[in-house]
Symmetry: C2
Subunit: 273 residues, 2 copies
């Protein structure tokens, strides 16, 4: 039996999404106990409860040694407000756990990787059940937690790798949550940002990524139309800024804010299996 | 006679705006020669010409010793792409010049301040002529260039001060353009960003502002409506993140993306007059 605790460090998740995930798992993913912490339904302004509420739920899930994994229910925004305190509050029960999520959950994945607590993994979240093809995303995540590697991002190699939402990584740079990434392949993805904002984020991020093994570009999706075309696509933008900082550009990657979001365990293959 | 060179390191300006600024200056600001570099009308995708075109125009203006000031025509996005090369290309003609602009021009103001080239000043730009009350903004900027201090931000004191658009400052952090700001009062303003994005930017910026004298909050305007209220206003957000990093929060400031945008010379009063 694989026991998974689910909490929401950012925004809350809908009751209907929870039901669908539980129903899907009961039908197609035997051998799982999925424990949605009640906090995933809490609300406080933008957040799934006040900072203290989200922090307490995360620490309950993290420090309970009976759980094998902590699955972040949804992104949005808010994990960065509680991440430092969460790391400081983690005890022996947190060691060895898998932490699974993406988007705003990247603040936690980054901090956990920096502190070498368990195994942070960039991959689908329960909220993805809403997407077209979302059932596949959920089952990909659950299968991975059982040791199935078929959902891994297909370009992973022997180099240590991390994956982040672009703006999340940009905001991490220079903070107490930013892991050292020397020698790493860094994969980024983004959603719903203008191309000029993508360019601006690459200006910032590449200035902080000296010494990485290279950068791969996940999907840049739902780019809003601007009042004039930017004049370069996402690949050209990534190549330009990588070249300015002598970072090898390693091509595209199969991650993004979509149901096809493939799984990227942080670190090297040896750490992750 | 005060000779002002105007170029556009980011987006182009309209012909009508140029005419209105020239007409206004001829009526109400005697003693000025305003030289709009033809590049301000260039177009290349998002930008006022390709990087090389914008860079060349900026360096022509900067290195011509007959100009007293370089006035940035408009923000948008693009200055960060040419700022390093611009600083590297500046010669003796750039020393002693006043550099005036805000918003995306902040990348240049930051880099110039870091390199101690002339006097960077956060204040109105020619494109502000479009705003309601825009004539006042333009005349405030021109009067300042003549030594009139009545347009200065009213809360400036003896401590060295800088002012930035919030996202511009966030992107500057940790880059080759970021000036050392220990002991400075840092003023920030923002326009058209969701409150969750403001909070996220404060998470990042305050992590980089250790040792500043304090932070003042300019106007946070045109905040888009989100699908749910964030739960805190801009002042509460600023106070929260300042407190987390032991940065004194020094209250509000009279800058912003509007016609009332007051003038903030970088550095201390002694440097700026």
């Amino acid at each position: 039996m694989t026991r998974v605790a689910i909490c929401a460090p950012s925004r809350p998740i809908d009751a209907e999404d929870i039901e669908q995930v539980l129903e899907l798992a009961s039908r197609h993913a035997p051998g799982f106990e999925l424990h949605f912490h009640p906090q995933v339904r809490a609300e406080h302004g933008h957040f799934a409860g006040e900072d203290e509420v989200r922090l307490a739920a995360l620490l309950e899930c993290a420090n309970d040694p009976s759980f094998d994994a902590v699955w972040f229910a949804r992104g949005g925004y808010g994990a960065c407000r509680i991440a430092d305190a969460a790391l400081a509050g983690m005890g022996p029960g947190a060691d060895g756990k898998t932490w699974l999520g993406y988007s705003d959950a990247g603040y936690l994945l980054g901090g956990l990787y920096r502190e070498r607590i368990g195994r942070p993994v960039h991959g689908p979240m329960p909220v993805d059940i809403r997407r077209e093809g979302g059932e596949d995303a959920i089952l990909r995540a659950l299968s991975f937690l059982k040791g199935d590697e078929s959902g891994l991002e297909p370009g992973l190699d022997d180099r240590p790798t991390v994956a982040f939402n672009l703006i999340t990584l940009a905001m991490l740079c220079g903070t107490s949550l930013m892991p050292g990434l020397a020698g790493h392949v860094v994969i980024v993805e983004e959603v719903a940002e203008h191309f000029y904002a993508i360019d601006r984020l690459f200006f910032h991020v590449t200035a902080h990524l000296g010494g990485i093994a290279g950068l791969r570009l996940g999907r840049i999706s739902d780019v809003p139309e601007n009042d004039r075309p930017f004049g370069a696509d996402a690949g050209e933008i990534a190549r330009y800024w990588c070249a300015r900082h002598a970072i090898p550009f390693l091509g595209s990657a199969e991650i993004g804010h979509d149901a096809d979001n493939r799984i990227v365990p942080f670190g090297s293959r040896g750490d992750s299996t």
